[in-house]
């Protein structure tokens, strides 16, 4: 519904900068989040994502730039006056209060009457699927339940934007998988804008409408999960989102939209450039996803592919549907990570066996290598 009318975005940052002494944690970040969407900021630890979130919440003041919520600048507002709420990394449920008091805390501060508070707390507990836990203490609940209480405590205040600081980090794997789906469901139910920060790409990819990949204080790319995965704009995004085989080398030959790359150990491969201006002799990095590589028992099957390697099976990493094989490339001795298709054809793959692998040039992405050695 909100897609048609071009509303004011719920959250907008304009050239936000934050320095701690000489260190610039966040560099000139501008983005806007439309109403009702699930926006994730994905990045390795130390990339500045927490700093950015804390600036939105009001715990840090930007050194430069502006933060707007529903079109209104909030940089001069303290955190207790901002229409945003935050789910903390370790949830920060108040241990000195029971669940009812935890959720009522914000409403009481607003001076709501006791009867209104009671009704609202009951409603929000119903919505997160935990009716009747009012009198319990936080430590009597399971990890997933605490999570939902932490969200309920914020949502009962009906914030314009809900900030989530890696709240799934402390949960075990099974529960984390479950909560991913749960969170997405809660978000669409409340129809509130969620800003979610994480270093876990699967959390970001599964839940988000839009993901921003952050590295060293800047946004490398903002886009849908699909865009980031299939169409990374920078070498960092290609390497960080999803799994990739990576090569560094020099451009030997430039064709219309592909280049021939030679690595320092003499391996050559063809990769596409997708419009990036790459010249002969330039240092580049190329990335190939494990699932884009074709496995074949006979060389003939992949004869149509531009990049072909006759390799030896190294380790088979069995992981159910996500099983992989590491194929040793005889030219440079490096191992190429290849996904095993679940057709049964490769079920008996064994170490030491000779195997043929190949991929088309358009499955390999090439980026100018800006970092040099990296």
């Amino acid at each position: 519904m909100s897609e048609k009318n071009q509303e004011i975005p719920d959250l907008e940052t304009v050239s936000v900068d934050k320095s701690f002494g000489d260190f610039r944690a966040v560099k000139d970040v501008s983005f806007s989040v439309p109403k009702g969407s699930f926006f994730s900021i994905l990045g390795p630890s130390g990339c500045g994502k927490t700093t950015l979130l804390r600036m939105v919440a009001g715990f840090l003041e930007p050194s430069n730039g502006d933060i707007l919520i529903k079109g209104r600048s909030v940089v001069n507002e303290p955190p207790n006056k901002r229409p945003v709420n935050m789910v903390f990394q370790h949830l920060a449920l108040f241990p000195m209060m029971n669940i009812y008091e935890n959720i009522a805390f914000g409403l009481k501060r607003r001076g709501e009457s006791e009867s209104v508070i009671k009704q609202k707390v009951g409603e929000v507990l119903e919505r997160v699927g935990l009716p009747g836990v009012e009198t319990r203490q936080a430590d009597q609940l399971s990890g997933g339940q605490k999570q939902r209480i932490a969200i309920a405590r914020c949502m009962v205040l009906d914030p314009d934007v809900l900030l989530l600081d890696e709240p799934l980090g402390a949960l075990d794997l099974k529960l984390r998988e479950h909560m991913k789906v749960e969170l997405k469901k809660l978000q669409s139910e409340f129809n509130t804008t969620f800003i979610y920060i994480t270093h876990d790409q699967s959390e970001a990819l599964v839940m988000s409408d839009q993901v921003a990949v952050m590295n060293e204080g800047i946004f490398e790319q903002v886009g849908s999960s699909r865009e980031l995965y299939y169409n990374p704009k920078t070498a960092f995004v290609a390497g960080f989102v999803g799994e990739s085989n990576a090569w560094s080398g020099t451009v030997e030959q430039v064709k219309k939209d592909s280049v021939k790359i030679r690595t320092s150990s003499g391996f050559t491969l063809m990769a596409q450039t997708k419009g990036e201006d790459i010249k002969k002799g330039q240092k580049v990095k190329a990335f190939v996803r494990p699932e884009s590589v074709r496995l074949a028992l006979k060389a003939k099957e992949i004869s149509s592919m531009e990049n072909r390697v006759k390799g030896i099976v190294g380790n088979v990493l069995f992981n159910g549907a996500n099983s992989r094989v590491l194929v040793q490339n005889p030219i440079d001795g490096a191992e190429i990570d290849v996904a095993i298709p679940q057709t049964g054809e490769f079920a008996s793959l064994a170490k030491g066996q000779t195997i043929h692998i190949g991929w088309q040039h358009d499955q390999a992405r090439c980026f100018a290598d800006k970092s040099g050695a990296k």
Binding site: G58, F59, P78, F94, M96, F105, C154
Partner: protein, 286 residues
């Protein structure tokens, strides 16, 4: 379940503690109790009875002195808490790294000097010919020496000063264990600084407040040096009464009874205090 070897180990481990408890605490107290229950009827003639205890209740000077001592100690405890809490909060939550260590050490440093010397320090400041009096005269605020010693305010200053560390240490420990994100969550949910103090910080710090208050109250009540030196002859401190019974009047029976009354009444005050604040000793200590 416990084998003979573990039993022997347990006995060996416990024996110094038990020895210390019996020889230094239990035996003297039993002897005191015995002495306090002897009534003097003639020269070297004693009878069993509660006369020594009755004297306390029939003689207004004694119980008035006790009431005054208890009241002053409670005031000293409250004052120490009011001053110690912001100090502890600053050390635990606001100061970082080396500043935190330095501030904590600063609270400890006065205790490297004996209590007597510390009290004399206050006397040098407060007496008629002391530093403060001289400064006031020099700056022209007063035109004659001012005596600031030998009154209740001087006693109070001394008591708060002596007790501060015993309030700050438990408070810093409990406040240190308060997760910063709870305070941030409070702000995030719209609370003012005062609401956070009232609903989050103080409820979390209750064990530290209770522990600190009990220690400070007991130390003040049982303090002898500070009230006598800073309060002078008019200090009327209960420990002073006990001292004079034992030393000045050689009335050990009466002194022992006062000692037990101090123990019993102070325990009663602590118990009432815990009940009034809805705390239990187990909850604070555990």
């Amino acid at each position: 379940m416990i084998g003979p070897r573990t039993k022997l180990g347990l006995i060996l481990v416990m024996s110094p503690l038990l020895l210390w408890l019996t020889t230094l605490i239990i035996i003297p107290h039993l002897d005191m109790l015995y002495v306090s229950l002897r009534e003097k009827v003639g020269v070297r003639q004693y009878e069993f009875g509660f006369g020594n205890y009755m004297t306390f209740f029939t003689e207004p000077l004694y119980w008035n002195t006790f009431a005054r001592t208890a009241y002053m100690s409670i005031m000293a405890t409250i004052l120490t808490l009011l001053i110690g809490f912001p100090v502890s909060y600053y050390i635990a939550k606001i100061a970082k790294g080396r500043l935190k260590m330095a501030l904590f050490l600063l609270c400890l440093v006065p205790f490297w000097v004996s209590e007597l010397v510390r009290t004399f320090g206050w006397m040098i400041l407060l007496r008629e010919t002391g530093v403060i009096s001289n400064f006031l005269q020099w700056s022209g605020i007063v035109n004659q020496p001012v005596e600031m010693l030998y009154n209740d305010a001087a006693i109070m200053v001394g008591l708060v000063y002596t007790s501060m560390l015993f309030m700050v240490v438990p408070l810093v420990t409990t406040l240190d264990s308060l997760d910063d994100s709870l305070i941030e969550a409070g702000y995030d949910l719209g609370a003012s600084g005062f609401a956070i103090l009232k609903n989050i910080v103080i409820p979390h710090a209750v064990p530290g407040i209770v522990t600190g208050s009990i220690v400070v109250f007991m130390l003040s009540l049982g303090n002898y040096l500070t009230p006598i030196l800073l309060g002078g002859k008019s200090s009327l401190w209960f420990t002073g009464m006990i001292y004079s019974q034992f030393i000045t009047r050689f009335n050990w029976e009466q002194g022992a009874a006062f000692g037990f009354l101090l123990l019993g009444l102070s325990s009663l005050i602590v118990f009432v205090g815990l009940k009034l604040s809805g705390q239990t000793l187990a909850k604070t200590m555990g």
